[in-house]
């Protein structure tokens, strides 16, 4: 990077832009399972939708079940702790798969 560039105002990044900087080794199978039966009686105000730093959990319009974009997961494990209903079965992805930090 040259000095001129380094003096520019930084670009505003969306979360999608940020996730684009992350290297993933794509796993075929999900490492996250959500028990939608428990979700129906959610007592956490659907905290998974808010708290996940990679927005893995989304509620699509017209759907009642949470959609899980497991391929975006940064493997922090926050969802598992935040979901005090224990509806999220989060496991480590298959060996060698998932997020692969280049800097860390």
């Amino acid at each position: 990077m040259n000095i001129e560039e380094a003096l520019k105002e930084p670009k505003k990044l969306t979360l999608e832009d940020k996730l684009f900087t992350v290297k993933y080794n794509a796993a075929k199978e999900t490492h996250i399972k959500v028990d939608n039966e428990i979700c129906k009686k959610c007592t956490t105000n659907r905290i998974c939708l808010t708290i996940c730093p990679a927005k893995v959990y989304e509620l699509e319009e017209g759907h009642t079940e949470v959609h899980v974009s497991f391929e975006n997961c940064l493997e922090c494990g926050t969802c598992r702790v935040a979901c005090t209903d224990n509806a999220i079965d989060w496991r480590c992805p298959q060996g060698g798969m998932g997020v692969c930090y280049r800097f860390g």
């Binding site: 990077m1 040259n2 000095i3 560039e5 380094a6 003096l7 520019k8 105002e9 930084p10 670009k11 505003k12 990044l13 979360l15 832009d17 940020k18 996730l19 900087t21 992350v22 080794n25 956490t44 105000n45 905290i47 808010t50 708290i51 996940c52 730093p53 990679a54 927005k55 940064l74 493997e75 922090c76 494990g77 926050t78 598992r80 702790v81 935040a82 005090t84 224990n86 989060w90 496991r91 480590c92 992805p93 298959q94 060996g95 060698g96 998932g98 997020v99 692969c100 930090y101 280049r102 800097f103 860390g104």
Partner: protein, 438 residues
């Protein structure tokens, strides 16, 4: 190693600093060690804010900084309180930290550093020791009460006399082994971070540094929307580590996404210009255990010891020390395994020597000393919010230039302070804060 059944003296689950310190210690004593790492390579799953404390590492590998991929040696620690539009900061910068061993404080990028440490450890391994990368351990193998091995998702079972569980903040294996329960939201902190690239000349000029000198800046208050936690900027060689970390219970109560908090922090007028022109080259997220001394898991059982983040060894005060405690616990678990092997006894009784070692070291002494820090800050939000915010505004008023006499201004400021804050309550709180935080 027994060829047919894949049996080692010790299996270390997780190739981070605590696990590698255990492996290094045992390998030096000639033991057969297997390190099982779930990432593509050790370091690929690992993340922290960016400061590695290295008193333990420097004992294992003297003058490691001459060969390890460290970024910068930290000569300056800055603590900064942010309000909506102002900043009040204290900076300690000293040449005393600018010579070996550099106050054992270095900025580091974990993917590079942990990989180096793993290679360094492998270089002293005997022919029966290995680092297995790309293997996820999914369960322990029990014989009666004793843990005798692990199951991975690839090969068959692997056996060992002792398992050292160094799997990190997400300690699913320790839960399966019955050593701890699933953590509660107030037990854990979540951090998100961006590595922001900038030319080294710009970093040096912007932060008043030369050569390989680095600075660690911690931010509180508005930096994290008043939550219990903090934000940080650490200087690497050609990038900045910029992030925030707060308690999961706070994110939950505020119903706010960690990335939004980070974006707001980056927009603060006192922060924005430090990041100017930078290009985000990696976004990342990780948890930090903050359950503290009073909620530590069972550290030892028959054939297993917990080290590092899976044990919860993090100093939750303003020291933000985790890596050093992790590495110390790894070394002590390794030393205990060596003695257990000599005795041929890996029972919980023999392995409890590990707990004794911890108790006699800075690890447990610091864990004990700061045991009430996080709880106090959660129970007394005024300490990180109302009091400092009022103080900053009083200083802004005090230094506001006008044609009023300084005596009048001072009277107003002090009068305002007394009106604003319940003075005796504040003194009382701050005295308590001093006791639990310092």
């Amino acid at each position: 190693m027994d060829e047919e059944t894949l049996k080692f003296d010790a299996i270390v689950v997780g190739g981070g600093p605590s696990g590698m310190c255990a492996a290094y210690t045992m390998a030096k004593a000639g033991m057969d060690v297997a390190v099982i790492e779930r990432g593509e390579y050790p370091g690929s799953k690992n993340l922290f804010g960016g400061i590695l404390f290295t008193t333990i590492l420097n004992k294992l590998i003297p003058n490691f900084w001459e060969e390890a991929p460290v970024e910068r040696n930290v000569i300056s620690r800055k603590f900064s309180y942010l309000t909506e539009d102002s900043q009040l900061a204290v900076e300690l910068k000293t040449e005393q930290y600018n010579k070996p061993p550099y106050n054992n404080t270095f900025t580091v990028l974990r993917s590079k550093f942990d990989r180096w440490f793993s290679e360094k450890t492998e270089s002293i391994f005997n022919e029966n020791s290995f680092v297995f990368s790309g293997f996820t351990v999914i369960d322990v193998i029990k014989e009666g009460h004793k843990i005798v091995g692990v199951v991975t998702d690839k090969e068959g079972p692997m056996y060992a006399d002792v398992i050292i569980c160094a799997e990190g903040a997400n300690s699913l294996l320790a839960e399966k082994a019955g050593l701890k329960k699933k953590p509660e939201p107030h037990d854990m902190v979540t951090g998100v971070k961006e590595v922001i690239a900038l030319p080294p000349e710009i970093i040096n000029d912007r932060f008043a540094l030369a050569g390989n000198e680095g600075v660690a800046i911690e931010f509180f208050g508005k930096a994290v929307e008043g939550m219990v936690g903090g934000a940080f900027i650490y200087t690497n060689k050609e990038s900045l580590s910029v992030g925030i970390s707060c308690s999961i219970v706070d994110f939950t109560h505020k119903n706010i996404n960690p990335n939004e908090v980070l974006d707001k922090f980056k927009e603060h007028p006192s922060v924005k210009n430090l990041l100017r022109g930078g290009e985000t080259i990696e976004y990342s997220a990780h948890m930090i255990p903050e359950f503290g001394y009073d909620k530590l898991p069972d550290l030892v059982s028959h054939g297993i010891m917990l080290v590092g983040d899976s044990a919860g060894f993090v100093n939750t005060s303003h020291y933000h020390e985790g890596s050093n405690l992790a590495m110390a616990s790894g070394v002590m678990a390794g030393e205990t395994a060596i003695i257990a092997k000599q005795k041929g006894d890996f029972s919980a009784e023999t392995l409890s020597l590990y707990k004794e070692k911890l108790e006699n070291s800075f690890v447990m002494k610091d864990m004990k000393n700061f045991r009430r820090a996080a709880k106090f800050l959660h129970a007394n939000p005024q300490v990180l919010n109302d009091y400092p915010t009022t103080m900053v505004q009083s200083m802004v008023d005090y230094f506001t230039i006008s044609e009023r006499s300084k005596v009048e201004i001072r009277k107003d400021v002090i009068g305002g302070l007394i009106m604003d804050v319940k003075f005796i309550k504040m003194m009382w709180d701050m005295n308590k804060a001093r006791k639990v935080l310092l």
